[in-house]
Symmetry: C2
Amino acid sequence: MKKAVVLVSGGLDSTTALAMAKAEGFDVYALSFDYGQRHARELAAAKRVTAALIVCRHITVHVDMSSIGGSALTATIDVPKGRSLAEMDRAIPVTYVPARNTIFLSIALAWAEVLGSRDIFIGVNQLDYSGYPDCRPEYIAAFERMANLATKAGVEEGVRLRIHTPLIHMSKAEIIRKGMALGVDYAVTWSCYDPTAAGRPCGRCDSCLLRQKGFSEAGLTDPLLATKNL
Amino acid sequence: MKKAVVLVSGGLDSTTALAMAKAEGFDVYALSFDYGQRHARELAAAKRVTAALIVCRHITVHVDMSSIGGSALTATIDVPKGRSLAEMDRAIPVTYVPARNTIFLSIALAWAEVLGSRDIFIGVNQLDYSGYPDCRPEYIAAFERMANLATKAGVEEGVRLRIHTPLIHMSKAEIIRKGMALGVDYAVTWSCYDPTAAGRPCGRCDSCLLRQKGFSEAGLTDPLLATKNL
């Protein structure tokens, strides 16, 4: 079996990317990050996801990005609420974490080299990407090119590493339909940037709003909202 | 003053790169990594270096690469000793840490964006680089290209980020002479991969051997070896 390193945040997109990697016949090595997120719910969701979808191994790497700051997700900046899609599209939001995908993909690259894997999956998508520069195809292509010059496997053994972005051109609704077709139970995933004191999704941050729009356009109900014990 | 993020390991090369960034008129923001190295001497040296050379700020970011493994520097693989330069050149050694410079530069990129800096310095060099793929100019150029597609600063503000590698074509002897000319006291630096129980450099790992060769070719004595209290 071919091995793939799959970045798993516990969200809807990375969970679908994981299901797609499995459907392509890869043995999945799931990689999550404890990077100073303001809440630990994402990591709990990542554990539920990798248990539900069954992976060969799941590791969580600690990267202390809080010492760098610069984002509403790691620092004490307020998460914006109730923005329209037009507002989200206008500028890169304060929830943008500087160079996050670059850091995550770099560590995935290291693990892939150790595992002897030539394939990394990341659930970025360009349509509903909320303006993050490191979700664009030209960025991914440049990362892949750099990665193939960076490693011992690439230089000594001529191993050609590929960054898979199966969701990059899909809408949130298409992602959800694809995941459902592959048997994903989205009740185990988590998207909200700023949960309520009671531990429910806030329903008003960009991530909640994009998730709602996706389920709505897919004509489905979000099973997470029907879950009593989050 | 322009701000530069400088990667500082506490070794001879990064210390010289720091001195060169200062000589070019940059305000230096020094960045070190606690990445599961087998010994903490490097980090102590990085603190001595940034104190001696005076920087605006010095942070140490924790990245838990020990969970990934794959290197004699982070795992329980023996560090090779007493190798000739020909042996060092033959293959990438077990002290190679998978994707290390990629991970370090990615975090430097994040910090540079937060600081509003357009300049990152890394003390890689191609001649005495012991066969590490991520010390080659083509790798650095590919990283720089990727970095300029990765960040909000690059995409929204058209900021052009540069990766400076002032040592890339220098020999160890040239690096040492350059640092001496800039007033660097190499007694505060540390290079050994595998210090003795008494806390002295082993004198036989690749890093010690390249350092000795450098001082010898520069016609100088390594002040670290004359230091009693390491």
